[in-house]
């Protein structure tokens, strides 16, 4: 299912104090696609994602999931937040965290159980359902967050700088994990990150935002082959070229392309 962002603006505050974070932005994330959204801090990339999730209202414009306008968190769409310690519910076991995500779906007990087991297995946490988030490392907790997003079998998954808080090693593991489950669950992904390597490595397409006010600076297609590999892909010349192009767009959007 496509996610359509149609001339969306967002500002905070009112009257003279109003501050525009995002201006007249349009973007379509096509079904099954993996789109990275990058940009300098303050460019409104997280705001854009939260609006796509139905958690923030655009000041003007419209967001649609398929043909339906998004007015609140829509069914078939799930979000992985940046800060797992504040998005997972620490008072619930891992299993409880996942079943809570299913309360809206009205599934039978048995169906719920098998969905939870499947999701846990997909993120490599089979058998860890009785643990509590606080008993786990950061990487494991973010896996739980991903499993919780997958358990509803969404068509669209939005990820908001999901790996910002984990170490480099874990980060690489999680990146590959996301690429794998994306296929397993046939899910469309919009992925906000401030890490340029990551945006290139993961995506089919990169949307670069510029700041003050936030707007789309460029929309690049990633023509790297799949499946991707942390070592091989990053050695590819096209990776290096894309990487420096994105870097230039993010850091110095006003200088012309070198090649």
């Amino acid at each position: 299912m496509n996610v359509v962002v149609d001339r969306v603006s967002k500002s905070y505050g009112r009257g003279a104090e109003a501050r525009e974070v995002l201006t007249e932005t349009s973007l379509t994330v096509r079904s099954q696609e993996f789109v990275s959204i990058v940009g300098p801090s303050g460019c409104g990339k997280s705001t854009l994602l939260m609006m796509m999730a139905g958690l923030l209202r655009p000041t003007s414009g419209e967001i649609r999931l398929g043909d339906e306008p998004v007015t609140g968190p829509p069914a078939g769409l799930s979000v992985v937040f940046q800060d797992y310690s504040r998005s997972l519910f620490p008072w619930m076991s891992v299993r409880r965290n996942l079943t809570t995500a299913l309360t809206a779906s009205r599934l039978g007990k048995e169906e719920q159980r098998s969905r939870v087991e499947h999701a846990l297995e997909s993120v490599g946490l089979a058998g860890k359902g009785e643990m509590y988030p606080w008993q786990m490392s950061g990487g494991m907790q973010q896996r739980v967050a991903i499993a919780r997003a997958l358990v509803t079998e969404p068509t669209v998954m939005l990820m908001d700088e999901p790996f910002a808080a984990v170490d480099a090693q874990t980060r690489a593991d999680l990146e590959d994990l996301v690429l794998r489950v994306r296929h397993e669950y046939d899910v469309t992904v919009a992925f906000v990150t401030h890490d340029i390597d990551e945006s290139v490595y993961m995506a089919d397409r990169i949307v670069v935002l510029a700041a003050n006010p936030g707007r789309i600076a460029a929309d690049l297609t990633v023509d790297l082959p799949r499946p991707r590999d942390q070592v091989e892909t990053k050695l590819d010349a096209r990776f290096a070229k894309l990487r420096s192009e994105v870097f230039r767009l993010v850091m110095r959007p006003d200088t012309p392309a070198t090649t």
Binding site: Y12, S46, T47, M50, L56, D160
Partner: protein, 268 residues
């Protein structure tokens, strides 16, 4: 996103009551309660002799406000409360800092605290009268007994939750005990201590008035007992009304002062 968080998160704690806010809403709340009170009277749930209607109580306000005994008593009760809170805070914070900065004292102190705080202060009034008589000393000592525990617990709690890294910084700077207490431990524990003090002010007020109802020589409570004995409940409730209002205002003032004092906490 960051700014968005701040906007949602910033003002929360205690905000539900702290701000004077739209006064109209507050007035609506109070009025709706007065109506309920009136209704309670009209339905004869409680006889007038025990709970007079709101109007007769409001009419009795000038009587009690014009009563020199009441005003003097109020001053006396307020003084007792103030002394209790100040002295209690100083003692409890000092004891709390010492008790929690030496590992061998920490748990034993909590055992003592938990043992003694379980005995309700107001039950000790007769003992207080035995030892201290009917004056200010008795009121203050009983109220102190009630007030010390919450402040002490909050101090120990606050010290225990001090970020260990800050203490390491102090240690690496080779600060002495006093300096470490003054510059690291106390500021870290301050929010928790202030919460304890706020709770203590409420407890002190209630306990002081209880000692007056059950024995003491002067004070608001003593005057209320006299009006009770004279079978003038509307005056008694006018007094209660004033007490509750004073308490509520005090609470709001404390919340505001507290927020100002520990403003830095939110920027942690």
């Amino acid at each position: 996103m960051q700014t968005d968080h701040a906007a949602v998160r910033g003002p929360d704690r205690a905000d539900w009551g702290g701000r004077a806010g739209p006064v109209a809403l507050g007035v609506t709340g109070v009025v709706s309660l007065l109506l309920l009170w009136q209704l309670l009277g009209s339905l004869d749930v409680v006889p007038r002799s025990s709970l007079p209607g709101p109007w007769s109580v409001l009419r009795a306000l000038p009587t009690i406000l014009g009563d020199q005994d009441f005003l003097a008593g109020a001053a006396d009760s307020a003084a007792a409360t103030a002394i209790t809170v100040v002295v209690g805070s100083l003692v409890a914070v000092a004891v709390g800092l010492v008790a929690s900065s030496f590992a061998f004292l920490q748990r034993p102190t909590m055992v003592v605290v938990n043992t003694f705080r379980s005995v309700p202060a107001t039950a000790l009034i007769p003992i207080g009268v035995l030892i201290f008589g009917l004056g200010m000393e008795m009121k203050v000592s009983i109220a102190l007994y009630a007030v010390v525990w919450p402040i002490l617990i909050n101090t120990i709690y606050g010290v225990a939750t001090t970020e260990p890294m800050r203490r390491d910084v102090a240690r690496s700077l080779r600060w002495g005990w006093w300096r470490q207490q003054a510059l690291v431990t106390l500021p870290s524990a301050l929010p928790s201590i202030l919460t304890g003090v706020r709770v203590a002010v409420g407890i002190a007020l209630v306990v002081v008035i209880s000692t007056e109802l059950l024995g003491a020589r002067y004070g608001v409570g003593t005057v209320l007992v006299q009006y009770t004995q004279a079978s003038r409940p509307e005056v008694v409730y006018a007094g209660v009304l004033l007490l509750g209002t004073a308490g509520a205002l005090l609470f709001s003032a404390l919340v505001r002062a507290e927020r100002r004092l520990v403003r830095w906490v939110h920027h942690d």
